[in-house]
């Protein structure tokens, strides 16, 4: 296979990993919202935890995006 084509296909495949991060971030915000609606008074105190969970989950998606960007823009 042509190396340039293989690179582009690899970048596309690497982006599939972001789907997992999308599911994870959705679960975090969905559960936060569900809990916040049940007990709005406790919601404000958990905002830091929400952002922490979001950041840790999002990082994994960003890693796969980074692989895609490296494949696209860095000439090896």
């Amino acid at each position: 296979m042509d190396p340039a084509a293989a690179k582009l296909i690899g970048a596309g495949i690497a982006c599939i990993g972001m789907g997992g991060a999308g599911v994870g971030v959705g679960v975090i915000f969905g559960n936060y919202l569900a809990a916040a609606v049940r007990n709005p008074s406790a919601a404000q105190g958990q905002f830091g935890n929400l952002i922490f969970g979001f950041a840790v989950t999002e990082a994994l998606g960003i890693f796969s995006l980074l692989i895609a960007l490296l494949l696209l823009f860095v000439s090896l």
């Binding site: 952002i51 979001f54 950041a55 840790v56 990082a59 960003i62 890693f63 823009f73």
Partner: protein, 251 residues
């Protein structure tokens, strides 16, 4: 016609300031933007604390809001003892937030889109946590890697994972900020490039159809302003959480 979305991240040498062995050291556009960022933060804080009115003016309320925002973040995640590190966390937050917001202006350079800068900041936090943790708690600091109440037969595995994740912290801490800014700016440029591509290739119909990617660019731009602030907040809150490990080790 082609789109070059990564041209914006070019480092340009402005003038030479020294020589280190065979390696010339230049004052780059990156350094210039660092000075600009620090100048903006300093001006905001100096102007904010100059008058000290009972009813704050514009600058004073901006300074007060940012101060109280960082204070409440530290208190809720690292406790009152974490206030010792207020200068560090406040500087990190303001530096990243202002440099991200400066970088979002078209034709400017984004500091945090370079891994070397975010890695330097993340390593600073990592070594602060490590050195302060050992200094304050002695060998008890290493209880961080041994969670209590874990059955003895899986303990080696858990300790291995804890140690591994501890040393991966600076990697994820820096790459998160860097990749978020990089990806956001590339996405902006790619969508903006679609407008010109459509117009050049399809003529009048293309220029009218270009309204769609233009609208999307505006929407992504608004999102990027949110991301610029959110990533600075995430960086600061993760710093607080890591410092909390040094202040109160053991699970």
């Amino acid at each position: 016609m082609s789109i070059d979305p990564i041209h914006q991240f070019n480092i340009e040498n402005l003038f030479k300031i020294g020589q280190f062995g065979d390696h010339a050291i230049y004052f780059t556009n990156s350094s210039a933007y660092m000075f600009l960022t620090v100048a903006i933060v300093s001006l905001l804080m100096i102007a904010g604390s100059a008058k000290r009115q009972l009813v704050p003016g514009r600058f004073q309320s901006m300074a007060e809001i940012s101060y109280e925002f960082v204070t409440s973040t530290i208190r809720s995640t690292a406790g009152a003892e974490g206030m010792k590190f207020f200068p560090l966390i406040f500087s990190l937050f303001m530096f990243i937030c202002v440099s991200n917001l400066v970088g979002i202006i078209p034709y400017t350079f984004t500091l945090s889109s370079h891994l070397i800068i975010t890695a330097a900041l993340a390593l600073l936090v990592f070594f602060t946590v490590l050195i302060y943790g050992v200094y304050k708690n002695g060998l008890k600091f290493f209880k961080l890697f041994v969670p209590s109440g874990v059955p003895i037969y899986i303990l080696p595995l858990v300790v291995f994972i804890e140690v591994f994740s501890f040393f991966l912290r600076p990697v994820s801490h820096s790459v998160r900020l860097f990749a978020n800014m990089l990806a956001g700016h590339i996405a902006l440029k790619v969508f903006a490039g679609f407008v010109a591509l459509l117009g050049v290739s399809l003529g009048a119909i293309g220029w009218i159809g270009g309204v769609a990617p233009l609208a999307l660019t505006v929407a992504i731009y608004a999102l990027e302003i949110l991301v610029a602030f959110l990533q600075a907040y995430v960086f600061a809150i993760l710093t607080c959480i890591y410092l909390n490990d040094a202040l109160h080790p053991g699970h």
